[in-house]
Symmetry: C2
Subunit: 283 residues, 2 copies
């Protein structure tokens, strides 16, 4: 039930250029595949490339620009969130979890490299994310690590997957309330943290602008999960119905964009990402 | 082949008091078991308590005192290393890895809580370690995170476990060289990082004192693995023979203690830990 790849939908040129920037930075960040032990480095790259839409790193770059800094100042944070997201997919796909055969159109990591290696690949991606954030040297680095640590912990990502495991083992007990709790922890928490991390990397202090961006992140995060569930006919869309899920997603996106008003033109990337999500949900 | 519990051996009163300090801090650091989702919090506590000898956190506190700061100034770093060590044990014990039924005299985490939860418990302990280090607020926090990130990554802990998996699947190919590489990555790297982190938490800058302490950490770390392997009749002790392993451990400990000379009395905790290891190896 983890956010799966939302099928290709054209991005604006700006978003495409930023996606390329993120991919280049990920390429430089990941250890070379030839470095021993090769299997783990090869497998890390296999999971990260070609990858999905890079929605979370783009949100991170967009929030950085929204607070008045160059988008690329948040590039380390953007790479870190993609590594974290990929780790969560690799572990969620394991036989003891969702037992998925495929991910992003190719065999899941554990099918290709074995279960033991897949567990270690996830561990390595998570560890590399924190190491990357610590190497960055930006003044708000500790605040960014704290923010991601919190979003990835048992109140966020991991707690959501624990609940998801319970739903997998007893699917009949899954109420809308439980599924909302899972979506909040597994998707919205990390998406909101991506936005906050971008703003922090751009030099934002705690205060109203950061709070507004976090609200945008929460709303766009839940909308993203709804749109994804509509697409895959699962999760919330299954219990709510596709129409209701689609209209709630639109309401959330409208509210998210409203939170961007005080940022004016600087919130251009974040608005384009919201528009992109609207376009997908309309299909 | 992961470092298993070295059976009870009396510590000095000082070491016992510091162990209690670490246990109290871990108690405060771990989320309460009653917090939802309860199963993951209950399982995290199950794995951390009563726990092993707390060798790594004690090294961390000892290094802090060695550089002239109060030992408890490294308490967050000490807790973080114990969380990291416990995460590595939980993941190493999984069916896809060592498939261990027991750990520290009780059913392994995955036997008690299921495989999916055990994977998530390991993830949660690792994540909490980094979050804890980021909350600490000490000036060297980023350097400590970088040090642990490096020691836990594919050049260290994870790389060692990848190699260990290869040995498990093809035990005949395990040469002394491979086993040394594994011991270096899985044990010595994290132990050396524990010592470095303690010194950094005590305010040490990069330079000769930090280098010396790291050398102590490397040597005591490899010695620890040798002593543990002699005890369990596995790993290096199996290919080298117990006598050779025991005498190499003693040589390493002697060299490690020699590296402490410039620190005088301040290195008292680190010397007591070395003595404790000698006493165990003599049994």
């Amino acid at each position: 039930m983890m956010t799966s790849l939302i099928a290709s939908h054209p991005k604006t040129q700006r978003l495409e250029r930023l996606t390329a920037l993120v991919n280049d930075a990920l390429e430089r960040t990941l250890p070379k595949a030839a470095l021993p032990p090769q299997v783990v480095h090869e497998a890390m790259r296999y999971c990260v490339f070609p990858g999905g839409k890079r929605f979370r790193p783009l949100l991170c770059l967009g929030a950085c620009e929204a607070v008045g800094a160059p988008a690329r100042q948040a590039l380390s944070a953007a790479c870190a969130v993609e590594l974290i997201h990929t780790y969560s997919l690799v572990h969620d796909d394991l036989p003891a979890m969702d037992n998925a055969d495929e991910r992003r159109g190719q065999p899941a990591c554990h099918r290709k490299f074995g279960e033991g290696n897949a567990i270690l690949v996830g561990d390595a991606l998570l560890t590399l994310a924190f190491e990357l954030l610590s190497r960055n040297g930006a003044p708000n680095s500790l605040a960014i690590i704290r923010r991601f640590g919190h979003a990835c912990g048992t109140v966020g990502l991991i707690g959501g997957q624990v609940l998801d495991l319970q739903v997998i083992s007893q699917p009949r007990t899954s109420t809308e309330r439980t599924l909302r709790d899972i979506a909040q922890r597994k998707t919205a928490a990390l998406i909101s943290a991506s936005v906050a991390a971008g703003a922090l990397a751009g030099g934002a202090a705690s205060g109203p602008p950061l709070k507004r961006l976090e609200r945008y992140g929460q709303e766009i995060g839940l909308a993203f999960q709804l749109v994804d569930d509509v697409h895959d006919v699962e999760g919330l869309a299954r219990v709510m119905g596709a129409d209701q899920a689609r209209s709630e997603a639109k309401r959330l996106i409208t509210r998210a964009v409203r939170a961007l008003e005080p940022f004016g033109k600087r919130a251009g990337i974040l608005r384009q990402l919201a528009d992109w999500l609207v376009a997908i949900s309309a299909r």
